[in-house]
């Protein structure tokens, strides 16, 4: 079996599962955020449930409209806060001490290798970087998961993406996943699990691995998975407060498709509007003037991402007229970046540093685009109207490219700095 099959088989109490089979799995964690939790809690009540299956295994994170942008958002967060208190749920996070769900759940050891996780947020697939089967669902599924502690799954076919060769300088996990989506398309992995492997993946730190698995959904993937190795175990061990299990694919595991790519052929990538599959190498971008840069989100809001941006911005200024928004992914990362002097570096370069939020990524608040404006963002989607007006444009890229673009005022590679 491959890793996806092993994870689902383990949580279903089965010796063996195969693609197409329907299984009922025990859930290690159920997640919802300030957009999806209100409907999930409503569904929970309508299902006649009164107690969550295990308060330790529920995570409620207010991050999308955080700090609460208006009265409705404040009421939604209050609903979550009250529910968490009433049910004894410790893992409730909001402004002050919280952060973006897909950054804080791994960081706080709430999700671990071997877990099966559902989250009412499509980027729940991020946790596949830990070797967990994690997938996005809607609010009703999350409400049912909170009530029952289990959920049904159709065992997916798996696709394997093997990266070999020498990764070029400035090429990050973001570039590898944008490249992948560019090759297979936004529905290239629809309903399937995407397993990333090979020496290049094995050489990546956890931050890059989270970025890769985060965007599996942008190819339609049900899960993005990387087999845990020593890097994973070293990262997880100090964070874990319960036992975890390591599953890896068998050498003779079945895959619907296998892709072998040489990383030496891959340059920094930029996804053009209005689909993540519209990927081009930085050398093919041309002259594209921009208005805003966003560095952050569940995709690239980790300490390593801020360090990458700082490497480029150090000693430089943001071009006149460009708004460069830097958004640490959690309270802890914000603190760490402050202690490391990065916040001062960003402010001196002319950026603003926001408190943690998903805000601009989904066009919620904290940096909305007007008609005709363009942004380079380290976020994960560039759909029509995603960051604001339907006539605005979002170009997806790594923190290196985003920071370089902030300095030049047009989409630029780090080598131009």
């Amino acid at each position: 079996m491959n890793i996806a099959e092993k994870l689902l088989a383990n949580a279903a109490g089965e010796d063996h599962v195969k693609p197409g089979q329907f299984v009922n799995c025990r859930l290690s964690c159920v997640l919802a955020n300030d957009i999806t939790a209100p409907l999930a809690l409503e569904a929970f009540a309508e299902m006649g449930a009164t107690k969550v299956f295990d308060p330790e295994r529920i995570a409620l994170v207010a991050d999308h409209s955080t700090p609460n942008k208006d009265i409705k958002s404040a009421m939604n967060t209050k609903l979550m806060r009250d529910f968490a208190r009433e049910q004894g749920i410790r893992h409730f996070y909001e402004a002050c001490g919280g952060g973006i769900e897909h950054i804080i759940l791994p960081d706080k050891g709430i999700v671990l290798p071997g877990d099966v996780v559902i989250g009412a947020d499509s980027h729940t697939c991020t946790y596949g970087a830990l070797g967990a089967f994690a997938t996005g669902v809607g609010s009703t599924d999350a409400g049912a998961g909170m009530a029952l502690g289990e959920s049904w799954f159709r065992v997916p076919e798996s696709m394997k993406f093997v990266f070999s060769g020498q990764r070029r300088k400035w090429v990050t996990g973001k570039d590898l996943i944008l490249f992948t989506i560019g090759k297979i398309g936004v529905d290239g992995a629809r309903y399937r699990a995407m397993e990333f492997a090979g020496p290049v993946i094995e050489g990546l730190p956890m931050a890059d691995r989270f970025t890769i698995c985060n965007m599996a959904i942008e190819a339609g993937g049900k899960a993005g998975l990387i087999a845990p190795d020593q890097t994973t175990v070293d990262w997880v061990t100090p964070r874990a407060k319960r036992e975890f299990q390591v599953f890896t694919s068998d050498a003779d595991a079945d895959y619907a498709e296998v892709f072998d790519w040489n990383a030496a052929d891959i340059e920094p990538q930029v996804s053009f509007p209005h689909l993540p599959e519209n990927t081009r190498g930085i050398s093919e971008v041309g002259d594209i003037a921009i208005d805003q840069v966003v560095i952050g989100a569940c995709t690239n809001g980790r300490m390593e991402d801020l360090e990458a941006a700082a490497d480029i911005l150090r000693g430089h200024k943001v071009a006149e007229g460009i708004r460069c928004l830097i958004i640490p992914g959690s309270h802890e990362i914000h603190l760490e970046a402050t202690r490391a002097g990065l916040v001062e570096l960003f402010l001196e370069a002319g950026c603003l540093v926001s408190t943690p939020t998903c805000g601009p990524c989904l066009g919620g608040h904290m940096g909305i685009l007007a008609a005709g404006e363009r942004a380079v963002a380290t976020t994960n989607r560039n759909f029509v109207g995603r960051m604001g007006h339907t006539e605005s444009e979002v170009y997806l890229a790594s923190p290196y490219v985003a920071a370089a673009s902030a300095i030049t005022g047009k989409i630029s590679g780090p080598e131009e700095i």
């Binding site: 299902m47 996005g136 009530a147 029952l148 936004v186 629809r190 995603r386």
Partner: protein
């Protein structure tokens, strides 16, 4: 069950951000959400749509965000069924969970244009374009998908599991 309505046609990869933009996601009722349904892809949709109408699309309908607000907005707008070449996984599951009928079939072969009168025989597995005299079949739902539809959505199934009903 037979559904009949007029088509509103869209292309491939209609994402949940255009079905219901994030600026409205702090709303939770079907009525509030329906008022902004399809706003960023078709701003007059909500003025044109009539109860029973059918949304017709290409590949990967409902891709992107997991927001259940998307099928809720569509159902709230009075749409009786969504027909597409394929659906994104989370949208598909959400639609079944809340009882919005959805059909995967050969949309291209039906030659549908906006305004065409479409008939969907859900149990018989047939979609007919009554305006152009074309029809196609679709396979019956299997496994949990079938169970969900028979139960009238996930909430009913969970109520049964919890012994509430």
């Amino acid at each position: 069950m037979i559904i009949k309505g007029n088509a509103h046609k869209y292309g491939d990869h209609v994402d949940t951000d255009v079905i219901i933009p994030a600026r409205y996601l702090n709303m939770n009722t079907a009525e509030e959400l329906a008022a902004h349904c399809m706003e960023d892809i078709d701003k007059d949709f909500i003025k044109r749509v009539k109860p029973g109408d059918i949304i017709v699309a290409g590949k990967n309908f409902g891709c992107g965000s997991s927001r259940e607000h998307a099928p809720i907005a569509i159902k709230g707008a009075g749409v009786s069924c969504v027909i597409a070449e394929t659906f994104a996984r989370i949208f598909y599951r959400n639609a079944l969970n809340i009882g919005l009928p959805i059909v995967e079939c050969d949309v291209a072969g039906l030659g549908i244009e906006s305004g065409d009168e479409i008939e969907v025989d859900l149990s018989g597995g047939i979609v007919r374009n009554l305006t152009r005299g074309t029809e196609t079949t679709f396979p019956p739902l299997v496994g949990m998908a079938q169970t969900l539809v028979e139960a009238g959505g996930l909430k009913n199934l969970v109520r049964k599991r919890l012994g509430v009903d």
